[in-house]
């Protein structure tokens, strides 16, 4: 798959933006500025970015509890993301969703999801819309290794296959579901092997290698767009932070993590594009600096955005419903 300079720089920029966002959020959580459950995507950047590099605004993605990376890769505004994590009115969800439900339907980002395995059926639905209306849109469905054991994932893959839907299933195998390793929870060797159960292409990719991800996703998206149906990509990856912020991460060793950090997907891609003359070190520095600026601006934006009014709790439940019936009885 041909890789243009623009695309390369765009991908590098997105990865850096995800990383910078997540590292900042980790601190903000530790400082008590962001409450609730926060699951960070750092380490897995090449997966979301490698896939979304093939999608445009009109395409759809479904996400997981670990959704910040998917948002940014899909081009969602980081200011409004940050404001959402802060629970502010200018947040993407006006403060109603928070990290676990951050969404931007106008960008085809159909929401982070608090339910493991919640996404695959939704992705089938978005793809069904595309197929029925003949729009050529594609739906990418991100899900974790843990989600592979949820019945909905099985149902979604079978349904997409028999209906020949334009879905790209992307299993982010970061090798753990919370503290439980994939070697325990999953009876299959590689999760990609399960593609055979649905007669669809399945491929296992090094999720730390953006070029490999870009390649595999390109083929799957092309296939989907051509009306040839779904595919499954399993990306072997690793999350740098705990399952959620606050996790002590006792179940992995420092050496394992150091090993992965050594092979960091962003550094690796930087080396690759510099050596291929798709970028010069200066480009990368500029990108790094502007990412930092963007995140600081986002933070500024979030902090200065007002809190919702308490009664806003009662809005957005329905398109139409008698307002008096939404309030608590007393």
């Amino acid at each position: 798959m041909e890789l243009t300079k623009d695309k390369a720089l765009w991908m590098y920029e997105r990865m850096v933006l995800v990383r910078t966002f997540e590292e900042r959020v980790s601190k903000l959580f530790a400082d008590g500025e962001i409450p609730g459950f926060v699951h960070l995507y750092a380490g897995e950047e090449a997966v979301a970015v490698g896939v979304c590099a093939h999608l445009d605004h009109a395409d759809f993605i479904t996400s997981t509890h670990r959704g910040h990376g998917h948002c940014i890769a899909k081009g969602v505004d980081v200011k409004r993301m940050m404001a959402e994590l802060f629970g502010r009115v200018d947040g993407l969800c006006r403060g109603k969703g928070g990290s676990m439900h951050v969404a931007d339907v106008s960008m085809g980002m159909l929401g982070a999801n608090g339910i493991v395995g919640g996404g695959p059926p939704l992705a089938c639905g978005a793809a069904l819309t595309a197929k029925t209306l003949g729009t050529q849109q594609v739906a990418a469905c991100f899900f974790g290794d843990g989600a592979a054991e949820q019945g909905t994932t099985h149902e979604g893959m079978n349904l997409a296959a028999i209906w020949n839907l334009p879905v790209v299933f992307v299993c982010e195998n970061n090798q753990f579901a919370e503290s439980t390793p994939v070697t325990y929870h999953c009876a299959a060797g590689d999760i990609a092997e399960r593609a055979a159960s649905y007669n669809i292409p399945g491929v296992t990719v090094d999720g730390f290698d953006l070029l490999a991800m870009y390649e595999a996703a390109g083929a799957a998206v092309e296939r989907a767009r051509a009306g040839e149906g779904p595919s499954l990509i399993e990306a072997k990856t690793w999350r740098y932070f705990g399952h959620f912020e606050g996790d002590q991460v006792t179940y992995r060793t420092a050496e394992q993590s150091a090993d992965y950090r050594e092979r960091d997907p962003i550094k690796r891609f930087a080396d690759q594009i510099v050596s291929r003359d798709l970028a010069v070190p200066g480009d990368l520095e500029t990108i790094q600096r502007s990412a930092e600026t963007e995140i600081e601006e986002a933070l500024e934006y979030a902090r200065s955005s007002p809190m919702p009014q308490p009664e806003d709790c009662l809005t957005d439940v329905y398109v139409s419903y008698p307002a008096a019936k939404l309030a608590a009885s007393a």
Binding site: K96, A103, G111, A130, G151, T152, V319, Y321
Partner: protein, 339 residues
Amino acid sequence: MAVTTRTATFREAVNEALVQEMERDPTVVLMGEDVAGGADVEGFEEKGAWGGVLGVTTGLVERFGRGRVLDTPISESGYIGAAGGAAATGLRPVAELMFVDFFGVCLDQIYNQAAKLRYMFGGAAKVPMTVRTMIGAGFRAAGQHSGCHYSVFTHFPGLKTVVPSTPADAKGLLAASIRDDDPVVFFEHKLLYDTEGELPEGDYVVELGTADIKREGDTVTVVAIGRMVQMALEAAQALAAEGFEIEVVDPRTLSPLDTDTILASVRKTGRLVVVDEDNPRCSMATDIAATVAHEAFDHLDAPPQLVTAPHTPVPFSPVLEDFYVPTPERVAAAVRATL
């Protein structure tokens, strides 16, 4: 109302609403197990083998083709979730959950995804999907094919719930449900399918959230849901012979509930009986009784009476099942208890 009507069954009414809405709006698609039937079987490319397990969707695939009438695998989470995802992205799907009793394998996609997307996204999405599903005892279908459980769906914010009792209401309310921009769960009682009534011809819509007074009276307000409206009307006849005119209120929509109509009736009669085929705990019966007790306490002249199924699953044996389902006699007894 100068609508022409004809006599038709509840089954025909549901079918007609589907035809009406599919003709009206090309984004309406239908999906469910065997809603056409025979998918991929030679000779069934343009016709259905079943038209639904009880024949309600007969003829639709012949009319709208397999692109809009989709047979599904036995993957309720998969296809009902897909209906939600499709609704959020531009279609207006009608998904059939064959029996409501199967909601245990797909509830998440209904109550946690479709119902909550709009809220969790701060109003930035809408999910115009309808789930049609079959309810009710009396079919000798036993413990896993005979429940009602509309109370559970009514409990969940983000869903609307509709339980028609007549062919006309079935047609008008299903049309309204499909046109509605929120997710609606539409409950069809399997024992109503063969019942007949006057069915308005042509485009016919009954606004969601409006109760209907199925019989006027001033002695006791009887709120009855779905097939229980029949039981209440039968009881009304018996009671009329005794000189008591009861008012039978059919809420038709459970969420939102037209409490105004119910309360107005109770303010008139001073007495309330709720008839609900569902199990009694945390039910529509308690919901309506509590609302009336709270809102119209000073108008109540007697304790509210609740006529419901017992706190048991639905048994198979006809003898047992007939004990399970509320009867006109039990309704009449409850009415008398308020006098």
